[in-house]
């Protein structure tokens, strides 16, 4: 993944993770796997974990510890009402940005600027 893409993704990854949790609850590894399925290929598991720690601290998710066959119990994250509210806000911000950028992108070139 290019440096530019990585930088851009950094700002929206939290929203993406919450959007995935809105579909259904998941533990850390599942979220990374779902990200891969959706084409976000090279996101490190640690980065996803760091984001999960953050959304947990901010109170956007509820956490349940579920025993696993191997290793320590897994933390299963589910979006709570506060997280849902934050996600709505995220989509609104995204819509605003996407619209503005689209306008900028589709604007006819101003020949006057290009002497």
């Amino acid at each position: 993944m290019g440096k530019q893409m990585t930088e851009m993704l950094k700002g929206v990854l939290e929203g993406i993770v919450l959007a995935l949790l809105a579909v259904r609850p998941a533990y850390g590894y599942e979220i990374t796997a779902r990200l891969r399925e959706r084409g976000f290929a090279e996101i490190a598991e640690g980065t996803v974990y760091a984001l999960l720690v953050r959304v947990e601290q901010r109170g956007y998710v509820d956490v349940e510890k579920v025993p696993s066959e191997k290793g320590p119990p897994r933390k299963v994250y589910s979006l709570n009402p506060q997280g849902r509210e934050y996600l709505d806000e995220f989509w609104a911000s995204w819509g605003f940005l996407a619209e503005r950028l689209d306008q900028l992108h589709s604007q006819p070139h101003d020949e006057g600027d290009r002497k």
Binding site: G28, Y29, E42, I43, A44, E45, G46, T47, Y49, A50, L51, V53, R54, Q57, S68, K70, G71, P72, R74, K75
Partner: protein
């Protein structure tokens, strides 16, 4: 080395938590123990100097789970370990000295801007 002095005080205060952390970190299999040692060192310098233990325990959870799943180190930490460490560190309250310096900077600029 005031940061370390403060750190040592913290450790004395929370000796048991710290010893538990160390014991769990030591019982991680290689190369996961090596990775967490490296991150621990970084956290001691740049992390929340007052109480690094909650952060280290969260990191430990990640590495214990990864060791159980056999996830490669590169897949956990990603291409840029510093970036990963910083993303992670941002989730925790900053150490006193960082908070103090930020306040000092903000106050100084406020004063300069008001002239």
């Amino acid at each position: 080395m005031t940061m370390f002095t403060r750190f040592i005080e913290t450790v004395i205060g929370d000796k048991k938590q710290w010893r538990d952390y160390k014991a769990r970190a030591r019982s991680l299999p290689p190369p996961y123990n090596e990775a967490i040692d490296a991150l621990e060192r970084y956290v001691m310098y740049f992390g929340p100097g007052d109480d690094p233990v909650p952060l280290l325990l969260d990191l430990l959870d990640l590495f214990e789970q990864s060791a159980a799943d056999g996830t490669p180190i590169r897949q956990i930490v990603g291409d840029d370990p510093v970036e990963f460490a910083e993303t992670f560190l941002n989730n925790y309250p900053k150490g006193n000295w960082i908070v103090r310096e930020r306040r000092r900077l903000t106050d100084a600029i406020n004063q300069a801007a008001s002239r």
